[in-house]
Amino acid sequence: MGAAPADTLYLPVGSPVHRLPPQCKIAAVCCFVVLVVATPREAFPAFAAYALLLACVAAAGRVRPGHVLKRMLIEVPFVAFAVLLPFVAEGPRTDMLGLSVEGLWGAWNILAKGTLGVAASVLLASTTQLRSLLRGLERLRLPPLLVQIASFMLRYADVLAGELHRMRLARLSRGFDARGPRHWGVLAKTAGALFIRCYERGERVHLAMLSRGWTGTMPRSEEEAATRAEWATAACLPLLALLVCLGGWTL
């Protein structure tokens, strides 16, 4: 059994940020991201201010910079496209290297906004357990079906990873070594077998749910609603970001 995905992001330290109800934190991060995206790309100081705001949240949440930076690497495959832009975009070119000006702006835009968004999400995940995130989404009235799907995914991610691991060991034990396209067929069959195993497990879980009286709706968790003070605390981030955004437009 490996560590659950939940455990690699969450930092179990007590802090005011950890204690905020999840729904407040989710709403704050969403508003923050929307404001960042709405900021004109030429407003460099605004982006520095956003980064500073996130640094303050990290400090309040007792999240070390290294923890956030390491986990932000997830962004790399997604920004690969942004790096291509200066080379392939049309329009006037710079004197040095002959890069497209429009492309450079586009790349900066994606990179800056993407990085801020990812940093905010990593902070949210570092200070909120996955289970509470789901409860937060439930409280924010996300369709229950979506929350249920996410919650089953969370529960069974480990079980599936375990099955995949066992299938890999079984392949290795019989002398299989994936080298090159000739072996892709075997890997594809593994994927197919895993899909069927998942499907059958899904059926068995469904039977287990029916056996215990499930009729189509999950019991709702009984959580206290967030207080006004908690909402106000969480609102600090988007409110300050709003000021920065407005500043960015008036500069």
């Binding site: 919650s151 039977l207 056996s211 009729t215």
Partner: protein
């Protein structure tokens, strides 16, 4: 233990049950089985005998092709399904199928909250069920962080929380190490569940297994299901001692185990 004298109430009555899967494969060919309330019965049979198919009829997961099933006098049909599923606590073979909620506490609460319990009453049900299987210290952990034996015990707690009249356990000893195996046996032997009047009573236990020593240890009576029919029904010690019967139905005792030389613990 001072139990009320055994009464003649019937927990489970299966008569003439036959079932064929939609693909045409017939698994059951007329099963008759009566289980008295408070008794512990082992359902023995080789792989592919139809044991799981039979179990899935007991709480209406499958609807009989022919014959009837009734639980505590209630026929297992559409209008009674909800009550039947509360009364029949089905513990699946793989605890990962049974434990689908993110934490142990939520999982144990699932059954009772589907039945409409909330707040204090729900919390005390959950706490009590977890205490009965010795898992109260793990209520807030995720099921996949528990050992296999602990998961099996939580799986038992998930059905105990609904105050079932019958516990149906599918291969309860599979994958357990010897210590976890005897812990579970001790739990099953001493279990008491409140009935409708709130009296603590011994639940009826139907244990599906091919772990023959375990059947002997826990169940005074056994039935053998083979080829989709009940081929033998009697005292566990007598059945296991009948070498010819055992061989004919692919049931094999562990090497060196003589069922006549041991006395099953009372309780």
């Amino acid at each position: 233990m001072t139990d009320p004298p055994p009464d003649r109430e019937i927990s489970l009555e299966v008569s003439g049950l036959a079932y064929a899967y939609p693909d045409g494969h017939q698994a059951l060919f007329g099963v008759d089985l009566t289980v008295e309330r408070g008794s512990r019965v082992a359902l023995l049979g080789p792989n592919g005998a139809g044991k799981t198919t039979l179990v899935h009829h007991l709480n209406g997961l499958l609807a009989p092709g022919a014959g009837t099933v009734s639980v505590a006098g209630l026929p297992v049909t559409g209008e009674h399904l909800k009550e039947v599923r509360r009364r029949v606590g089905l513990v699946f073979q793989d605890p990962d199928d049974q434990l689908f909620m993110p934490t142990v506490r939520e999982d144990v609460a699932f059954g009772p909250s589907c039945a409409g319990l909330r707040g204090e009453e729900l919390a005390s049900r959950v706490a009590k069920a977890l205490r009965q299987v010795g898992m109260e210290a793990h209520a807030d952990r995720a099921p996949h962080h528990l050992s296999f034996g602990q998961r099996r015990r939580v799986a038992v707690a998930t059905v105990l929380a609904s105050h079932p009249e019958i516990l149906v356990l599918d291969e309860p000893s599979s994958n357990l190490d010897p210590a976890a195996r005897s812990e579970l046996a001790a739990i099953l032997r001493t279990l008491r569940v409140p009935d409708a009047d709130g009296r603590a009573r011994r639940p009826t236990v139907l244990m599906v297994t091919h772990d023959l020593p375990y059947a002997l240890e826990l169940c005074p009576r056994s039935v053998v299901l083979s080829g989709g029919v009940i081929v033998a029904d009697g005292g566990t010690q007598d059945l296991l001692g009948d070498a010819e019967l055992m061989r004919a139905h692919r049931l094999e005792l562990p090497f060196g185990f003589d069922p006549r030389s041991v006395t099953a613990p009372a309780g």
